[in-house]
Symmetry: C2
Subunit: 379 residues, 2 copies
C-alpha cells in the first residue's frame, strides 16, 4: 500500500534513512504559525488494511527514530526496526491481524518534510525558516496520511517518549477515530527537569559556530560537535542512576577515545562520546532541535481550559505505561496523568515496567514491555 | 593572622575575587604527576587561634566557591560569605570559640594557584599545562597552609560537595590531625550519573572554539559560551525534579532573554541561562574543568586496597550528611559511605537533611543544615 513511491526522497539529506514510501499531502499550517507549502511524509507499512479500513495500527517513533519500526537489517537499514520485537506475526502488534503504519514525523529528517527539506518558495532548505511544529501538528499530518491511505479507524496507536505524546494526542485530538491508545514513557506535559535537559541540548547545537544560525545546509559545515553534545545530554536522561551504576559504575573506559582526554576516561564518558558521535551523520541537528522543542511544548491541555477538559474528550481506551526508573518522564508523573484522565471520565488505565533501564526501556526491555501492553491490546 | 598579605594577588584573573590573604607555600608535586614551582593559596580567617593551636576549623568550599565563607557583602565581595549563617558568633561554627579558616582550592581561580596563574618557568599562564589536581592534592596543600599558620590540630573540617570530599579526605589522609569531620552532600566516590554530567560540562567548554585548547589567556577571547553551558549542566545536578516543579514548573519565562529564543521560553530555561551567564566573568573556565575533574576522580579508596582500608585509617569522628533530594550525591550513597566507614571501624554517623532543594541545600536550607550539624559539633 504505497502512494507516490519515491516522491520527496530528494528532500532527505543524503546521510539519513529515506523511508520506504513517501506521500505528498499538500500544504499544512502548523498551529503556532508559519506555512508549509508541500509536505511529504515518509512511511512504512506491514500487514494488510481490511475492507472496512478499521484494522490499522499507528506506531509513533521517538526523538531520533524513523519510519522503520519493524523488519530485519537490509540494504537500507543497518539495524532491526526499532520496535521489531513488538510488531510482527504473533507479536503483541500482530501483523497477521493489523495493518501497521509508521511514519517519520513532520520536522524529522528521515524522508519527511523538515528543516533540511527545500522550501518550494526558494528551492533552498528551510533551515531557520522552518516553523515550530508541535506534537499536535505531527498528529494532524499523520491523520491526513491515514485518510489518504484509506484508514477509517485506528484500532491502536502506540509509541514511547514523543511517540507516547503522539499516542496520547491522537486520543485527545481525534476521539472518534481511535479505539485504543498506548502512550509509553510519556504524559500530558514534560516537567522542568526534562525541559532543562532539552535546553542544554539545544544550546549545545546553537553554540556550535557551524550551526550558523540554523542555515548550515550546503555550506560544507554542520554543527556536528553541538549535535554530539546534545545527544550526550539526551542519553543522560534516557538512563537511570541505578542502571548506570550497573552498566558503567566508575570503570575506566574500554572503548578507544573519540575525543581528547582529560585525566583519563571513565566508561560512562566514552559511552557518551560514542553515542554522541553515533548520531552525527544519521540525524540532522535542526531536526533534533525542532523535535526536542515539540516534546517540550507538548501540553495535553493546550487549547483547553484544563488537562481534565482535554482528557474528557477521549473516547479511546488508553493504557499509560510508566517506567519505574524513567528520569525524563518519571513513572509517578505518568501514573498521575492516567489518574487525571480517569477522573476526567476517560477509560484510562496504568501499567508499569519495573526496570533499571530508565526511559529507554521501551526500546530494549522487550519481555517487560510485552507483559505491560499485550493484555491490553488483546482485551 | 595573615602571611604575605597581597602576595599572589597579581596571579588572579582580574575578574575574580582575589581573597583577603595569601600565602606562598613553595613548590608542590600533584599526586598524578606534574610540578608546581610556586604555589600561592588565598585564604580568609575568622576568630583567633589559641595558644595550643588546636581550636582550628577548616571550612572547604564547593566547585565555584572561594575563601570568603563568612562575612557580609563589602567592597571585595558583593554577596554574603557562602556559609555566613553557619560561621560566626553563636552560629554552629562559633567564631567565639574557633579559629576558622577557609582557603581557595589549588586549581581554583580566586587567588590560589590555578590554570590562570603564571607558570614561573615561562611567566605565562599555565593554561593547558596545569597538571591534573586531585582532592588529595587540594587537602595536602591545605595542610601545609595550616602548618604555616601554626595550627596543630583541626577541631573540625567541614564542607559540602567537593568541600565534603575534602572533609572526608582530611579524615583519611591526616588521621591524627582531625578531631571531627563533616562531609555534606558527598561520599567516597561520585557515581556514573554525576560523572556523565561533569563530562557534559567539560565537553561544552572544550567544544567552544574560544577555549583554544585551554590556552586562551591573553588572547582577548575566552570560552564564555562553553562555561555558561557547563554551568547550566551543573545547575541541573544541583536541584531536584520535585524542587524544580515547585520553583519553575512549566511556567513561561519571567526574566528578559539573555539568549536567542526558540519558540518561547520556559522559566527553567531562563533560569539556566541566567545562572550560566552569571558564572562567566567570575570564574575561569579552565579552573571549572580542573575542579570538576578533581570531583570525578576522587575515590576515597585510591592508593588503598579498598574503601574499607581507607576508612579504617580514620581517627576523627565523622558525620556524613546526606540531602534527601540530592541527585549528584544521592542520600542513599552518602548513607552507604557512612555505613561502610562504620563497618571499617571508623566513628562514623549519618544525618539527613530532608528537603526538595537538591544538592545545593547545604548552601540554602540553613535551619535544616544547622539541625543536622550543630549537635555533632557541640557534642
Amino acid at each position: 500500500m504505497t502512494l507516490d513511491p519515491g516522491a520527496g526522497a530528494r528532500e532527505a539529506p543524503a546521510q539519513v534513512s529515506p523511508g520506504r514510501s513517501h506521500h505528498r499531502l499538500g500544504s499544512f499550517e502548523p498551529e503556532l504559525g508559519g506555512f508549509l507549502q508541500d509536505v511529504t511524509i515518509a512511511y512504512e507499512t506491514w500487514g494488510e488494511l481490511n475492507a472496512a479500513g478499521d484494522n490499522a495500527v499507528l506506531v509513533a517513533h521517538a526523538l531520533t527514530g524513523d519510519s522503520h519500526a519493524a523488519g530485519e537489517p537490509d540494504e537500507t537499514y543497518r539495524k532491526d526496526g526499532w520496535w521489531e520485537p513488538v510488531i510482527g506475526p504473533g507479536h503483541p502488534i500482530d501483523t497477521g491481524e493489523y495493518f501497521v503504519i509508521c511514519s517519520n514525523v513532520l520536522g524529522g529528517c528521515s524522508g519527511s518534510t523538515g528543516p533540511a527539506s527545500p522550501d518550494p518558495a526558494s528551492g533552498k532548505p528551510y533551515g531557520s525558516r522552518f516553523p515550530i511544529v508541535t506534537i499536535r501538528d505531527i498528529v494532524r499530518v499523520q491523520k491526513r496520511l491515514l485518510d489518504d491511505l484509506g484508514v477509517k479507524r485506528l484500532a491502536l496507536v502506540a509509541g514511547g517518549s514523543i511517540g507516547g505524546q503522539q499516542a496520547l494526542e491522537w486520543a485527545v485530538e481525534f476521539p472518534g477515530f481511535v479505539e485504543k491508545a498506548i502512550p509509553v514513557a510519556a504524559n500530558g506535559a514534560l516537567g522542568p527537569q526534562g525541559l532543562g535537559m532539552s535546553e542544554l541540548g539545544r544550546r549545545a547545537i546553537m553554540d556550535d559556530p557551524d550551526w550558523q544560525g540554523g542555515d548550515y545546509y550546503g555550506t560544507g559545515r554542520s554543527p556536528d560537535r553541538g549535535l554530539a553534545l546534545a545527544r550526550m545530554a539526551g542519553m543522560m536522561t534516557y538512563q537511570s542512576a541505578a542502571g548506570q551504576w550497573e552498566r558503567f559504575g566508575r570503570r575506566p573506559a574500554s572503548r578507544p577515545a573519540l575525543c581528547e582526554e582529560f585525566g583519563g576516561r571513565f566508561e560512562i564518558e566514552s559511552y557518551l562520546h560514542y553515542q554522541g558521535q553515533d548520531l552525527v551523520g544519521r540525524f540532522d541537528a535542526n531536526s533534533y532541535m525542532y523535535l526536542l522543542r515539540a516534546m517540550d511544548l507538548y501540553d495535553v491541555a493546550a487549547g483547553y481550559e484544563s488537562p481534565e477538559e482535554a482528557y474528557a474528550r477521549i473516547r479511546a481506551r488508553v493504557l499509560f505505561v510508566g517506567i519505574t526508573s524513567d528520569w525524563l518522564f518519571p513513572a509517578r508523573e505518568v501514573r498521575a496523568a492516567a489518574e487525571t484522565a480517569k477522573r476526567a471520565g476517560a477509560d484510562a488505565s496504568y501499567a508499569e515496567v519495573d526496570t533499571l533501564s530508565g526511559h529507554d526501556a521501551f526500546l530494549k526491555d522487550w519481555d517487560e514491555l510485552e507483559a505491560a501492553i499485550r493484555p491490553f491490546i488483546e482485551s
